[in-house]
Amino acid sequence: MNIKTLFFGVTRDIIGEGSAIFDLNEDLTIADFQNILTKNYSGLTDIKSFAVAVNEEYVTEDYKIQENDIIAIIPPVSGG
């Protein structure tokens, strides 16, 4: 299934773009997806410590990715 992923802040700079489509197998968790990302992008060494949102809500790393999910990688926030 094709899963849209959004990148922000330092992650966007590392990836070089704000979003990407990944063709993922079924039944992957967020933790699995993070491993895929670190294999594809050598700069994403810190990603395991970054938060992840699915459809604009924070999720834990055991969340199972589903069709039509929009994933966002959330590096440490620094608003305010």
Binding site: F8, D13, D46, E56, S78, G80
Partner: protein, 141 residues
Amino acid sequence: MKENISIKLTTNKLRLQECIDFVQDNSCGGIATFVGTVRNHTKGKEVKQLEFSAYTSMAIKELQKIAEQALDEFDILKIAIHHAEGLLQIGEVPVIIAVSSVHRGASFKACEYAIDTLKETVPIWKKEYFKDGEVWVNAHP
């Protein structure tokens, strides 16, 4: 959006009086506010300007959650949380929080809760520009 909550994430200049006017209520005895300002230094280095970028749709949801939690948890009347996006110069205002309550203690607590939580949960990122480069704040915790 509820009548007692004002949320904004905007590239326009933030206006304190707008926040005060929103939370002001004839039954309120006091208004606590927090006004963030862009500091001209960080860890000893001179900052030239800042840039805020956001996951806008989610950031607005998270700001709304903070406002609702503040209304649930503290005895307050109204709350406004306005945050800037884009480039800001030294002295400009990235964030304004205003809270009204009948008794002032609740406003202070809610205002501090809101800014503390905003800095932890809302997907907004700050980039600091120095003379010799730029860096995402907190990017490597």
